[in-house]
């Protein structure tokens, strides 16, 4: 029998972890001589208080949905994909190559083409670590970390030496053609006569991200492949016994994971910057880890956690603007969320389990 009801495991433990992270963040804010309450209200006001704030919150959340899903799909197979950062960066390269070199007359054509480019490059960047893990037993955490750095170097080289337009000084590609620009959520709202989120980067990719959540849910819990992924994650000998090929499943899972991380580029490279910049990912790959942990590797959880981090990111920017608290506060909060929901999970879980056992005992015959 389970020690805890399922709702406590799925909702209560992450919530308590989050509260602990927030409490410590509040202490940190107090320690640097600021008011945690004022910080919180500034963040809520700046991120959720206007459609302008929401436009940014949703934009950031879209990035984190993709990277969060990437981490969680791998996690279901027992793989810790820490390489979302590099895979998303390579996804950006895929998007840039498609949009710069294919003549695409309309965004309706450009979006699927760019998605293929983004997912393909992201997946390929995950392929070598996946293969090495499956075939040679090289630890995927270490190889994906190394691939993050190699991706940064590759991108730096490509942008400075190959994609940089003649005469330009900054390491960035040329602008993508006007015809491939994605509709912003603000434009879409305007079509319905609603003035919403003017000058914000949130774009149609948000809906692609929502669809990705649904597809991942279907994949993991409603398909044979998803079942095999979960079996492998629970027990490799079990998977072997059930006739599942661990090498194949490991590689396929990592391709899906890398592809999801790569898809993030639709949002930041195609939707926002409209050209490929150096360091376009800006740590979103790593936030995916926090999002997946917080969301218990379930697409709904990932969506909610991504919204939370979107709020934190936009709110953090506002903090830096209106108060003397640097936006690095967000990195501290992110670290604490990862620490409490990921590494110190047992610190919250074990007392809770004891509590539930104590409550339940008197009721038993």
């Amino acid at each position: 029998m389970d020690k805890m009801p399922k709702w406590a495991d799925v909702i209560l433990t992450p919530l308590i972890s989050l509260l602990l992270a927030m409490a410590i963040s509040a202490i940190v804010i107090l320690a640097i001589g600021e008011s945690p309450w004022e910080a919180l209200t500034t963040m809520i006001d700046g991120a959720l208080g206007s459609s302008y704030g929401w436009g940014f919150t949703l934009y950031y959340a879209t990035n984190f949905i993709f990277t969060g899903l990437a981490v969680s799909v791998a996690y279901h197979a027992g793989l810790f994909n820490i390489g979302g950062e590099g895979q998303a960066a390579m996804g950006g390269l895929g998007v840039a190559l498609v949009l710069l070199y294919l003549p695409l007359p309309h965004w309706l054509l450009a979006l699927p083409a760019a998605m293929v480019g983004a997912a393909l490059f992201g997946a390929l960047w995950a392929l070598i670590p996946a293969y090495l893990q499956a075939k040679r037993g090289s630890h995927i955490v270490i190889t994906t970390i190394m691939f993050n750095f190699i991706a940064a170097a590759v991108l730096n080289y490509v942008l400075v030496n190959l994609l940089r337009p003649v005469g330009s000084m900054d390491p960035a590609s040329a602008r993508f053609p006007e015809s491939t620009h994605l509709p912003k959520l603000s434009d879409m709202a305007l079509n319905f006569g609603i003035e919403w989120g003017k000058n914000t980067p949130a774009n149609i990719t948000f809906f692609v991200a929502l669809a990705a959540c649904l597809i991942v849910w279907l994949l993991i819990w409603r398909t044979r492949l998803g079942y095999e992924i979960r079996v492998l994650g629970k027990s490799e000998p079990g998977a072997l016994y059930a006739g599942i090929n661990p090498v194949k499943i490991t590689v396929i899972t990592m391709l899906i994971s890398g592809g999801l991380a790569g898809l993030m580029a639709i949002n930041n490279v195609m939707g926002e910057a409209e050209r490929l910049l150096l360091n376009a990912v800006e740590g979103a790959g790593f936030i995916g880890i926090a999002v997946a942990l917080m969301g218990r590797n379930h697409p709904v959880g990932v969506l909610l956690a991504a919204l939370l981090f979107g709020f934190l990111y936009q709110g953090g920017g506002e903090l830096a603007l209106w108060t003397t608290i640097p936006r690095e506060l967000i990195i501290v909060i992110q670290a604490l969320v990862i620490l409490f929901t990921g590494a110190l999970d047992n610190m919250v879980r074990i007392p809770l389990e004891r509590l539930f056992l104590a409550i339940r005992k008197p009721g038993r015959p």
Binding site: V28, I32, G33, F80, I82, I128, L132, R136, G137, S138, H139, V141, I142, T143, I145, M146, F147, F149, I150, A153, V154, N156, Y157, V160, N161, F286, I289, L293, T324, I325, P326, E328, L329, I330, I331, V332, I333, Q334, A335, L336, I338, L339, G342, A343, L344, D345, N346, M347
Partner: protein, 322 residues
Amino acid sequence: MMDFATILQILDSAVRLMTPLLLACLAGLYSERAGVFDIGLEGKMLMAAFTAAAVAYATGSAWLGLLAGVAGSLSLSLIHGAASITFRGNQLISGVAINFLASGLTVLLGQKIFGLGGRTPPLEGPARFGEITLPFANALRDVPFIGPIYANVISGHTVLVYIAFLCVPLTWWVLFRTRFGLRLRAVGENPASVDTAGVSVTRLRFIAVAICGILCGLAGAYLATGLSAGFVKEMTAGRGFIALAALIFAKWRPWTALGATFLFGLLEAIANRYPNLDLGIITIPSIFMTALPYILTVIILAGFVGRAIPPRAGGEPYVKER
């Protein structure tokens, strides 16, 4: 293209650049040999660099800075120990969290204390570690070949560089010639056997994690008060991960760690000196040199050039049988 003097300069620079890598690599060696994976070397170094620079600036003493650096790094080690040993959490996730914690806290505290956007004010005089001229360095300078090497490459570094190099034989001796070292290695391979022998797995692992913290503290302090003159935001710049790569490259052994970190330090020194290395036939961009440690590590990990096998119980929390 390259004369003797240039080679000496590059070697001298390589020695300076390899020192933080060597210290962090040995730090990881203790931790991982005891079965605790540590991808938080980067964060610990960064924290140490900040606390060392801040205290060195406030007190004007590099030595007090060093102590503060060790304390800063140790405090993060304690979190890592609590998460991965006491609460049997995921060691990799704990390491990731520690890297972010250091990255955020250093800027937050730096901005609060100094208001320079995360930097500390530049350190001068005794707040930095000075260069030590070894005995007879100037007298021997004129001896052909050996003299310049001794005077320019071996002599003229800060005390932390020599400490780092001394740590190599010391680590070898501790790990392979003492009872503590035997137990430390055993706890990383088969903790149950150590437990059966009546030795506390928890205690041993905590000691290993603490040694890791101290060495990362030295590495960070060297970065901020030896190699540079003060703390700059994100100043470790991935060195913790290069050290991790070196550790794998060295197959978790101290003498090979010396070789691996020297190689990686040399690559950095060459990349700094020649932004585009012209080899006649092809020109190698410096970015390739920067990425080379990572590429080499993946190749080693793949097992195509000698296999790197980590300690067997690495990454696994130890659950005592009841």
